[in-house]
């Protein structure tokens, strides 16, 4: 449990930390969309500089971002190698059967690598600079127009908040149950598949029972305090769209124009 940094948020006081979570969420999705516009090395260089500047502004160490890339490294390498050995065109450096190492292959491999790294860096930047509950608030606010088609916006937001609130609690619970089972002689991850399956059931049952009991308690407590759904409810955390949020979108617009120009 101590190793878990909830949602991997790193508290700070940078401009990025202070931005409206809605602006950060929308801008991050927008940025990932425009990465696909890049077709030249100049465009990728611009995106890399842009992302590194944002990381610098966030005052968060680059190590955190590099750690985010590591779990995906095998997938990135697999994709990059496919590009390198199966792309035809340009000067041929080496050829063996259907495999070839060409000028375009190397260029495309480098582009794909950059694309992956940029997407991961930007996603990591969003969650490192925004508390999970603020993001849940942002999602609720962004989804609000869907109320017109009777989408249960408040219920979804409440569900997300409860999920985020109870992850550490259930994590502790799981550790306790597992320790209790270990004390009784259960070896997790040992034996054949059938034995591993059998070892999981005594964890899942108490975990479900305890979660469902918590749900009962929470429902009773909320009703006792007069919870009547989201309509007319005041908020503890109030989201405010400021000038810097608008500026962020203007920058995104300029970046899009530059990427189109560099295609």
């Amino acid at each position: 449990m101590n190793k878990l940094i909830l949602g991997r948020y790193i508290p700070g006081d940078s401009i990025l930390h202070r931005m409206d979570p809605r602006a950060k969420l929308l801008a991050s999705f927008y940025y990932i969309g425009i990465i696909f516009l890049a077709r030249t090395w100049q465009a990728y260089a611009l995106l890399l500089v842009f992302t590194l500047v944002l990381i610098g502004i966030s005052k968060i160490k680059l190590d955190f971002f590099i750690k985010g890339v590591k779990p995906l490294l095998w997938l990135i390498l697999f994709t990059v190698l496919l590009q390198i050995f199966f792309t035809r065109g340009g000067h041929v450096y080496w050829q063996w059967g259907f495999l070839s190492l060409t000028q375009y292959g190397l260029i495309n491999g480098a582009y794909i690598f950059m694309r992956f790294v940029l997407i991961i860096f930007m996603s990591t930047l969003l969650t490192l600079t925004t508390p999970p509950l603020s993001l849940a608030d942002a999602i609720e606010s962004i989804l609000k127009p869907l109320k017109v088609v009777h989408f249960p916006v408040y219920e979804v937001a409440l569900m997300l908040s409860i999920a985020l609130r109870f992850v550490p609690t259930l994590m502790d619970e799981t550790t306790k149950i597992m320790d209790a089972q270990r004390a009784r002689g259960v070896d997790f991850g040992e034996g054949n598949l059938f034995q591993q399956m059998k070892a999981i059931v005594p964890i899942l049952i108490p975990l479900f029972v305890s979660s469902f009991n918590r749900a009962d308690d929470l429902a009773t407590a909320m009703e006792a305090r007069g919870y009547q759904g989201g309509e007319g409810r005041s908020k503890y955390r109030i989201l405010k769209w400021r000038t810097k949020d608008t500026v962020a979108f203007i920058l995104m617009g300029l970046l899009t124009i530059a990427l189109i120009f560099l295609r």
Binding site: T79, I119, P132, L160, A163, A219, G229
Partner: protein, 175 residues
């Protein structure tokens, strides 16, 4: 539905989403290992919808929360495509379920739907890994993803069946 029942349903789904995240965060200890392959036990929660379709929102929420807040990988695209795949498969399941009488039939349908819908994830990988000049191979990517998903869904089906015999998922949602 009364306000009280509706509130209980939302809270129950919130806790199911939290449970999905917790089970995903313990892949080493709470996952099955067979050779070099690791499977996430949390995928078994997809079978909750077989017992009561209202669990759909909890499972969907769990996928979104895990991919968005806790996955150290391709956060935003994983959230969009992973969430979309889960929602699509489970929505189709809820539409087909009334025509299936036995629990094992519903579980089998769920396994087939999740295996089939892995094409969305394969498409995401192909999309991210393709440039203007070359296309990532779709079929090898899809087949490897579908096999692992099909396997973990098959393994967890009897587990969830056994857990239901004690916990009674349907009754919990209706209480």
């Amino acid at each position: 539905m009364t306000n009280q029942r509706r509130l209980k349903m939302v809270i129950l789904n919130g806790l199911v989403a939290a449970l999905y995240v917790v089970l995903s965060l313990f892949p080493g200890m709470l996952g099955f290992a067979s050779g070099a392959i690791q499977f996430r036990i949390s995928e078994g929660l997809n079978h909750l919808v077989v017992f009561n379709k209202k669990y759909l929102w909890g499972v969907f929420g769990g996928v979104l929360v895990f991919n968005f807040f806790f996955s150290s990988e391709n956060k935003l695209l994983d959230t969009l495509f992973g969430g979309g795949q889960t929602l699509l498969a489970l929505l189709i399941l809820t539409l087909v379920m009334p025509y299936l009488k036995q629990t094992w039939q519903k579980m089998l349908m769920n396994i087939l739907l999740f295996t089939g819908s892995m094409s969305m994830i394969a498409w995401m990988i192909v999309l991210t890994g393709s440039t203007g000049g070359t296309q990532m191979p779709f079929w090898p990517t899809y087949i490897s993803l579908a096999l692992s998903e099909g396997l973990i869904m098959t393994i967890t089906a009897p587990i969830m069946y056994m857990v239901d015999k004690v916990v009674h998922f349907d009754a919990q949602m209706k209480s």
